[in-house]
Symmetry: C2
């Protein structure tokens, strides 16, 4: 795992106090998949009646566990409950036929230990790419995992799934619907897209809401577009990214997409997404990039991601340089429509450029003052239409090079 | 301009001995646009009968001089000759209406000093973005420039157009056609796409071949796709990139696209393109990435550029790590078709992975030995079809962060 990394300066002050979600229990164990002296496998067991929805990496070289989850996710088996089994240390990606067999072995063992059918066992693996997953170390621990399930174990689960993360990530929401309370709690891991060979983004969210699987999937897919699909650390996409949302129904409160539940779920997703950026490798600045006035929302997101992924913009931010010229460059290269002479750019509240040139009232000192903060905002108005999008990223620093130019250990 | 940069370790041993091209003369001068104590303006004057073709940045926020060149390039005015006027230190990009007026003033002054019609004056500006170009410093020098033209001045021209370049760039070819010799000589500047606020790629190539403008344009456009459009330092695209090729016809040798001239021109273009990568900001490794077996050539280029632009691949190369997992990741995220279980990857001559997994005979030591070199090759076979592409890039190092996270000075 290489040297231990210092906790990100952008980390939250502490791990949040996550509520117990009725209908789900957790256990973790040290199976020695790759790491020593820490937990590296977590099991979440979901009661019968649980609906599970998900979203996955679009990579054409997806890992075996992702492909297995995608096959299972739309199945109707809520009556049987479900299990989520995650290991860190080895991603079981680019492992050929052996990788498929490893997934099957783990899912079979999980089914046997928990009584959940194999078709309802969802697995994820995160860690080094291209090495055979020593799945027997995991299957050997499944009885122990099944025997130590605990409704209060979610914070331990957040730790077991970490790889190069410098802090565990959790978020929660309570939503009141018709005078009753629905609870949502989620955990995530991720710090670079797949770096250094052992990162990826994994997200597990649990709620006691009662919701049809198709409604839950629609909510998850929609919220994913404006949360996890709007963050970028280094523009690289993991072969293993997985988001699973499980609704146990234990609260007895029926929800749809048209009540407060959607906002609560979105809030948990955006909170976790921001925490992943805040743990970005080498990050010292958290940056919100908003594009308005594009021809379409899709164009706005294209522009915003072009700015967020530009190495020149990201290094300027690291240098606390209000370098709006690089923002112009990134908008220009994005491929989406733009007109140089209609662009306006703000750093924080400072209007830097308008109508294609430096704003008459622009003060470099004001913009420089904003850039010295830890939480930055860059806003670009394209001046063509009503399309808008917001994305989040971090700066590109020597820390990123240090972490990623090291030899694998 | 900030501190002086050390010459790139990847630089050629010396500037090549460029041949005189009949029909073109050069002059340079120190106009003090931004830099002190060096030349920063160059004039190339082309005799009547010269055909001019070009290629330009696709940025939606193109600079005023680029837009002016694009308007003029397809005009038929070979009978009047042509002039190319380039300044470094200020890119006249994102400078609003004032930028357009600056281009006109420079073109008018060049026309007056040289006798070439304004419609045949092509200008480029490279340097800081978003500051008004002090064009009067340039126009004041035009009579002096016109009075010191020299057929042997091309190497001085290569120096005058430099910004953050650590070495001047030149390349030449001689082609024998029907027993007669055609000469080609070119110069270029560029080191990052627009960094640090003062880079961009400018290329000027001169030949004494006699060729119709439309034929020359077709050759230039085609060769551009496999040369300058196949290099990447940091994935960022300048608002000012300009390639101009001028054929004076002075050799009297008529050429078409179907003789040795096409190869000669391509050779000069690829040589200059490689030199730009070799001067990539912070570069310590020159990397050739070849993709074969894609469904189409276009898919192959998409995969190859995804690998070349991946920060994780580029930092691994900086760390001399034969990290094929990151290559898999970059192929997977590219958006072009791929099948994980058909991929083969080579580092140099070492077969690292095949059919979706580590090659049985793979020796990490052999791959690591290749990675220690200065000139690296990564080859990916997609296993789906016959599409192929080659692109060139450099590694991502602390040097890049140093150069680009500095304050503008």
């Amino acid at each position: 795992m290489g040297k231990a990394l210092a906790v990100s300066p952008l980390a939250p002050a502490s791990f949040p106090d996550l509520p117990v979600i009725d209908g789900v229990r957790f256990s973790t164990i040290a199976a020695g998949v790759r790491y020593q002296g820490r937990t590296d496998v977590m099991l979440a067991l979901l009661d019968p009646g649980t609906a599970v929805a998900g979203a996955f990496t679009r990579s054409a070289t997806r890992s075996a566990p992702v492909l297995d989850c995608q096959e299972k996710i739309s199945g109707d088996g809520a009556g049987s409950g479900a299990a989520i089994l995650v290991n860190s240390g080895n991603s079981n990606a680019f492992t050929g036929k052996g990788g498929v067999e490893a997934v099957r072995a783990i899912a079979d063992a999980t089914a046997q230990a928990t009584g959940v059918p194999q078709a309802r066992v969802f697995t994820s693996s995160t860690g080094v790419i291209g090495e055979p997953l020593p799945f027997d170390r995991i299957t050997a621990k499944l009885d122990a995992l099944a025997g130590t399930l605990d409704a209060g174990g979610i914070s331990e689960a957040a730790k077991a799934i970490m790889t190069t993360d410098t802090f565990p990530k959790g978020a929660a929401a309570e939503v009141s619907i018709d005078g009753k309370t629905v609870r949502i709690a989620g955990i995530a891991k991720g710090s670079g897209m797949i770096a250094p060979d052992m990162a990826t983004m994994l997200v597990y969210i649990f709620t006691d809401a009662k919701i049809a699987r198709s409604d839950l999937q629609a909510l998850v897919s929609a919220s994913n577009e404006t949360t996890f699909n709007c963050i970028t650390v280094d523009s690289d996409t993991s072969t293993s990214d997985t988001l699973l949302v499980a609704a146990t129904g234990a609260s007895g409160v029926e929800v749809t997409g048209h009540d407060g539940f959607a906002d609560g779920l979105h809030g948990v997703m955006i909170d976790l997404a921001h925490q992943v950026v805040r743990d970005g490798e080498g990050a010292t600045k958290f940056v919100e990039i908003t594009v308005t006035g594009a021809r379409t929302d899709r164009d706005a997101k294209t522009h915003a991601l072009s700015v967020a992924n530009s190495p020149l913009v990201k290094t300027a931010i690291a240098g606390e340089d209000a370098n709006w010229g690089r923002v112009v460059m990134a908008v220009g290269k994005s491929g989406a429509e733009a007109d140089r002479d209609l662009l306006s750019i703000r750093f924080g509240d400072v209007l830097v450029a308008e109508k294609g040139w430096v704003s008459p009232g622009y003060s470099e000192a004001d913009a420089a003052a904003h850039m010295k903060g830890q939480n930055l905002r860059i806003a670009v108005d394209i001046g063509l239409g009503c399309g808008a999008a917001t994305v989040w990223t971090c700066d590109l620093t020597h820390g990123y090079i240090d972490i990623n130019a090291d030899y694998r250990s």
